[in-house]
């Protein structure tokens, strides 16, 4: 007598387990499956978060475990919010965040729009364009420091070629005015391809018949672009902005490699200062408070943004 596959599977289950499971509800079985994951999340995400919040109200220093830990109330938060240097860090972060997103969206969308048009060598160009984002940020930071070197740097020579200025007459990484733009340029060079790929996915998801219908209605190319292309790519673009925004808010490695936060504190982004406070100065309580402030900021902004994104999708 042959058994059907379901029966075979049922018989393969050990009797003791089968008996135990038989008495459980679907909900209980679901909990058994998701339980380990939830425990893992609690252990590696929620517990550290709660612990960090707890530490943020203390004067704890991780390098001085023998020192008595005192609860200092909101003093760490008060110090951070009243510290003009922290606000300069936030300004530097905002400058970096806004301008990288603006450039990456503009250039990324333009590249996607160009790549989306059928032409010879299309695939090859796509591969070449996405190469920068495949590199390690440490490597990118390192070789751009050479590009920006005033005496031998390629970047300075290219600028010199077009403007006639002496290559060693300006310092991209050493000048207070130019360094914030130098890091924007490198991040844009590296991550524009990412935005381009997302935009390309959006452009390719637009069915051709919509353009055909618009053409029959005698809509101009310009009109098609503004009333079909942009609205239909917008959710993708907004998603790209969300990804890049979150990434750049916590940008660390690339900028550390390029400028180390200098000259002075000109490019000291919030995450760089946070690392200094936490793991160089070992002000654990203070840096925990700083981390919580940054977390609340990015979480709040991202939540507002996601709501806006959902509204756009619903349209």
């Amino acid at each position: 007598m042959s058994l059907d596959p379901v029966e075979q599977a049922a018989r393969a289950t050990p009797v003791t387990v089968a008996k135990k499971i038989r008495g459980l509800s679907d909900r209980a079985i679901a909990w058994i499956f998701v339980g380990p994951t939830i425990l893992l999340l609690l252990a590696i995400n929620i517990f550290p978060l709660i612990w960090t919040i707890n530490l943020s109200f203390t004067n704890y220093k991780a390098n001085r475990p023998n020192r008595p830990v005192e609860y200092v109330g909101l003093r760490n938060y008060e110090r951070i919010l009243n510290d003009s240097d922290i606000w300069l860090n936030m300004q530097a972060t905002a400058h970096f965040l806004v301008w990288t997103i603006v450039f990456q969206v503009l250039i990324g969308f333009t590249l996607a729009w160009l790549i989306n048009r059928k032409f010879k060598g299309n695939d090859l160009w796509t591969t070449i364009i996405v190469l920068p984002m495949m590199l390690s940020p440490a490597v990118v930071g390192n070789f751009w420091t050479f590009f920006y070197q005033p005496q031998i740097g390629l970047f300075n020579y290219v600028v010199s070629f077009f403007t006639g200025a002496d290559p060693s007459s300006f310092e991209m990484l050493g000048s207070v005015d130019l360094a914030p733009w130098a890091i924007v340029i490198v991040d844009t060079w590296m991550w524009t391809p990412f935005v381009m790929l997302i935009c390309l996915a959006g452009l390719r998801s637009i069915p051709n018949y919509i353009y055909e219908a618009a053409a029959i209605d005698r809509a101009s190319k310009w009109r098609q672009f503004w009333t079909i292309t942009i609205p239909m790519v917008l959710p993708f673009l907004m998603l790209a902005v969300l990804f890049r925004g979150i990434e750049n808010f916590k940008m660390f490695d690339l900028v550390v490699q390029l400028t180390g936060g200098g000259p002075g504190s000109t490019t000291e982004l919030a995450s760089i200062n946070l690392k200094r406070e936490a793991f160089e100065k070992w002000r654990t309580g203070y840096s925990s408070a700083f981390a919580i402030i940054l977390f609340v900021t990015v979480f709040g902004l991202a939540s507002i943004y996601v709501k806006a994104l959902n509204k756009v999708k619903e349209r």
């Binding site: 070197q149 005033p150 000259p263 793991f279």
Partner: protein, 438 residues
């Protein structure tokens, strides 16, 4: 029969123990990755041969050295059995229990701190400062000094031009202001068809570079950390008129006389600038001088050395380190054995001959020492007037605050020297308040 077996077993164990007094251990010594570390690897081969222990080495590049090693100590790591740690770590190392206190060991092994140069014992070994509580043996004396292109300084055309433009003889600067005068003379000058620059100085932001560089100007002007030692009364000392003038001088030197793009330069960049023939003068630690002298392109008769010039007084920034036994090490006995071996006068003499800077009096007071290397005499002079940064347990916080304030002013043109030093006092006051010292 049983008795016989027991007796023979005891004999075997006894003779075996006598043949090898201690079991061979694997010791790891941690230090920065630089020329003297390579010399120490060679020197330690003698220890391996004599003791039977195996030596491993963990060398970390200077910009990451403090970060890496302090993390290791703070986490109670067992990577290092022995650590040649920076002088400023001694307070933290002692108070947090990272370093083994060596007094009893020194007493039992008849190792006397009187056998080492007093400045190095004070700076590298004692905590609290100046008390006879020793946490390290002076391992490597060092100070920030200068070297220059002797072949350029000796060119008749340049000498004549310098004399005509300044009225002085072109030579080793005798004061800080003269140093700037010489640097200005060479800045953007064409020598052998190549544009050269005045001086390479420390401007690095991330670790300790600009502090070590700027204090080389601050100390000769008479900079003090406190009005009264141990009282943390910094107002009027840290921001004294002399300190302000010195910091303005250092910024002036950076603005007038460094190669383009040297906004974040430290030891490596200084060496590169000099070896590539870019600069007439450069500051760096004496530890690099043997390697510089041996360089086939810019060493030998093309280079000479001088002590950091005085201004209101003599003053050099202290470098160098002591060697400590890590309290988390499982090989403390063997580590102490290494220290005992290293403290011997003949080992110290060999250490100097291989490129390490011994702090042992038997080496430094040897009549032939001054002439043993072209920079040996300068080293002795420099070590007579060294000053060090705070060596407090909160040293990292104090240092990073100074890095920020100095870089903001010197490189980023933010505010005035007085404002930078005032802000530094505020930062340091906050640190000492947190420490319960104010």
């Amino acid at each position: 029969m049983k008795l016989k077996r027991l007796a023979s077993a005891a004999l075997i164990l006894g003779t075996g123990y006598a043949a090898s007094p201690v079991m061979a251990d694997d010791l790891t010594l941690c230090w920065a990755a630089w020329d003297p570390a390579n010399a120490l690897v060679e020197l330690s081969k003698d220890f391996e041969a004599q003791s039977g222990h195996n030596m491993s080495f963990e060398f970390v590049p200077w910009p990451n050295f403090a970060d890496r090693m302090l993390n290791e100590l703070n986490s109670g790591g067992k990577l290092c059995d022995l650590l040649i740690g920076d002088s400023q770590w001694i307070g933290g190392g002692a108070e947090a229990g990272h370093y083994v206190k060596l007094n009893d060991f020194f007493d039992s092994e008849k190792i006397s701190m009187d056998d080492f140069a007093p400045a190095t014992v004070y700076a590298y070994s004692t905590w609290p400062k100046g008390t006879p509580n020793y946490y390290a043996l002076p391992a490597m004396g060092d100070a920030n000094g200068w070297f220059y292109r002797k072949d350029w300084f000796e060119r008749e055309d340049l000498k004549a031009e310098y004399k005509a433009s300044t009225g002085n003889e072109l030579g080793e600067p005798k004061s800080q202001k003269e140093l700037m005068e010489v640097a200005k003379f060479f800045q953007e000058r064409e020598i052998d068809g190549k544009k050269v620059y005045g001086a390479s100085i420390f401007t690095e932001r991330g670790s300790e570079g600009i502090t070590m560089g700027a204090t080389s100007a601050l100390y000769p002007w008479g900079f003090k950390y406190e009005n009264t030692p141990g009282k943390y009364d910094m107002e009027g000392a840290v921001n004294s008129p002399e300190a302000v003038e010195a910091l303005e001088f250092y910024k002036g030197l950076y603005d007038c006389c460094t190669p383009p793009g040297y906004t974040d330069s430290y030891m490596g960049e200084s060496l590169d600038a000099f070896k590539s023939g870019q600069v007439a003068m450069a500051m760096n630690w004496f530890a690099f001088f043997p390697g510089l002298y041996a360089d086939p392109d810019t060493g030998g008769d093309k280079i000479d050395f001088f002590v950091n010039p005085p201004q209101n007084q003599a003053g050099s920034t202290l470098g160098g380190q002591g060697i400590s036994v890590i309290s988390y090490s499982e090989n403390q006995e063997a580590s102490l054995e290494y220290i005992k071996w290293f403290a011997q006068p003949d080992v110290q003499a060999k250490w100097w001959s291989m490129g390490g800077y011994s702090a042992h009096n038997s080496v430094l007071n040897d009549p032939g020492f001054k002439d043993s290397q072209p920079f040996a005499g300068d080293f002795l002079v420099a070590m007579d007037a060294v000053q060090d940064f705070w060596q407090e347990p909160a040293y990292a916080e104090l240092l990073l605050a100074m890095q920020k304030r100095l870089h903001d002013y010197v490189v980023a043109d933010k505010g005035t020297a007085k404002e930078a030093l005032d802000a530094l006092i505020e930062d340091w006051t906050e640190v000492f308040e947190d420490e319960g010292k104010l």
